[in-house]
Symmetry: C2
Subunit: 383 residues, 2 copies
């Protein structure tokens, strides 16, 4: 009981401190600029150099407008004289991309100022807190690859399914050259648009290739929760329908329609969160198909996994595991499975090419995964 009381006192103290900080706001710099993810011409939301976000919503007759960003409870906006609602997060947000939405009079809506991104099984508002290292995913004056939407036939699901294929800058220059392929999966509640839209996978690769830090390869991104889980919870999820689409339909289609190197040494799979768990399950069952494995905030591979998977040591050329630093603190609430660092070290000591990466000061969010792609890409398909 005493323990609970202490916690309560601590929480109240913290609450007071935060309230004071919010009331005084002595530290908030008035250098707010429109978020880079705003719709054309939209001035709000804005972000300042410290990572505070400021919102402005027009809804003259509304009773309440709340923004889901800004910690538990979000950021309540206050009505100004002209019927416009405004508010600033009580704390700086982590660098990078964040999903959010509005609650207007009890209804869930998107911020009309921003572009939308598919997450949480719906198109949500997005905001970008400029990261100090954002240069690596910036649109630069370098040769650009393409992001191609393909519609591939899927007998197992009786439809044409969509995927996006990144082809590197020189893909169409030399018609005789063939390329390795990375199959790259989104997370739960996201879809095949995530890695290009909020992930900037194409720009990350364009920049790495321009700097000579990665060899060029294709990236294929498709929807990974094949049995229609995006419309509901995780309860009915099964890996089998997606594994069938990926192994029996998508990979053969890509190999038939793009100039790929279609052997196991030149095929990788990686994914974030749910997509990492899918990657682990599918690659360990199909080591004749994949040689490089990447799990981004989505579990890790233990020595037990290795020992229980015949051929692992011979066939797997890379195990890459990453997390955002905020996923690893304290009780590691964000980690799937065992201690990922310890497991990565154990693999390394067992002679497996195991790489563990931690994205500084980020959580279970896209800046962790943008950085993870930057880290894994140069490690793939090294001869």
């Amino acid at each position: 009981m005493k323990c609970y009381l202490t916690v309560l006192v601590l929480l109240v103290s913290l609450g007071t401190a935060l309230c004071l900080a919010q009331t005084d706001q002595p530290t908030i710099k008035e250098d707010f600029k429109p978020s880079t993810l705003n719709q054309p011409g939209q001035e709000y939301p804005q972000v300042n150099s410290q990572g505070y976000a400021r919102f402005r919503i027009t809804a003259p007759e509304a009773k309440s407008v709340n923004v889901s960003l800004g910690g538990r409870g979000g950021t309540p906006l206050e009505k100004t004289e002209d019927g416009v609602w405004m508010g600033t997060t009580a704390r700086p947000e982590d660098e990078g991309f964040h999903y959010y939405h509005l609650t207007v009079d009890g209804g869930t809506f998107n911020d009309p100022g921003t572009l939308n991104f598919y997450g949480s099984t719906r198109w949500e508002s997005g905001i970008e807190i400029p990261a100090h290292d954002r240069d690596f995913y910036a649109l630069k004056d370098v040769p650009h690859g393409r992001v191609q939407q393909i519609l591939f036939p899927s007998k197992s699901t009786n439809t044409s399914r969509r995927a996006f294929v990144y082809t590197p800058p020189d893909y169409d220059k030399d018609q005789n050259r063939r390329y390795p392929v990375l199959y790259l999966q989104h997370g739960w509640g996201e879809d095949e648009t995530a890695w290009s839209n909020q992930g900037h996978a194409n720009l990350i690769m364009d920049n790495l290739i321009a700097e000579g830090r990665s060899q060029p390869f294709l990236i294929v991104m498709t929807y990974g929760m094949t049995n229609n889980v995006r419309i509901g919870g995780m309860g009915n999820f099964s890996i089998d329908p997606f594994e069938t689409v990926l192994i029996k339909e998508l990979i053969p289609y890509v190999d038939a329609n793009f100039r790929t190197l279609s052997d196991q040494p030149h095929r990788a799979m990686a994914g974030l969160s749910m997509g990492g768990m899918e990657t682990k399950t599918i690659t360990l069952k199909n080591l004749n198909i994949f040689s490089h494995i990447g799990l981004l905030s989505g579990g890790s591979i233990s020595l037990d996994d290795v020992n229980n998977t015949p051929g692992f040591r011979e066939k797997v050329k890379l195990v890459f595991v990453s997390y955002g630093s905020r996923e690893l603190g304290g009780n590691r609430g964000g980690v799937f499975g065992g201690d990922p660092k310890a497991e990565a070290d154990a693999l390394k000591q067992a002679g497996i090419n195991s790489v563990f990466y931690v994205s500084p000061d980020t959580a279970h969010e896209f800046l962790s995964w943008r950085r993870s792609l930057r880290e894994i890409a140069p490690l793939l398909f090294r001869e």
Copy 2:
């Protein structure tokens, strides 16, 4: 004065008739189904077999919720017992695609049930009233081309600019084959995503090619209001910046990076609305570059235009002009310039390959333009 009075009486009579129809609603069939443009798993908005649209918005504390669709004043929703707002349009909507938005307590928001489409210089909600001829833009079990996002360097605007390129199904099968190119423009307030997203240009071409009705060609779609007009009105629009990007930067990039037939006989330009006006201006100035011209709800070409443009008769192989039938009625309020049918006939009589198409029962909306693409595609690049 008498005339005005008659009109007034007529309007009042019509108003009464509509009100009665709305109140009684004897004819609304209860066979509503979710719109095909809903977000995954969303049940509303719905559409019935007559073209009525029904909306359902959760906003328990709101004072008013209005849908912009449904004629002047839109469709006011009514609050049901459980805090949910519902309403049905007072009349059937035209077949095809419509933009709309919500007004919730005086604020403009999108319907959280639908996908968003860029129009009116913002991402808007979209709804699809199933057209009786929707088969021609349906996703079918035929070979599919790709929609490729390219980022091309633009010195004149000092950035990399985005375009989408449709490549036909067999583009990568025969590496020696080269293809003609159609440059296809969106309308005012839209952008380079419109023709693929709400226009289904890729599916229309896939289906035409599968039926042997059109020869395969590339379609290139980029943003046409280059000097940043999308953030405001038309006041500061100038064709020059876009013409520079198109002629000096995009076309050379496409010809260098895709297997195109890069001569004048194999290059067409078409556009809808504002994009039609751009097409007319740019093609008439650049007849050494374009041989086929398409104006979709975006003006027409007169015999005066022909006579004032040296070389027109020799260089232009097709003038295609189209409108939705609802744009042509009465005072032709939706038509840009002179009588398009008369002008098309005059060109034909003068020996020019002039084709005039009217989309039945559609207005200045995307079903007119989907059909127009279906009509013009088979006429392009006939040897």
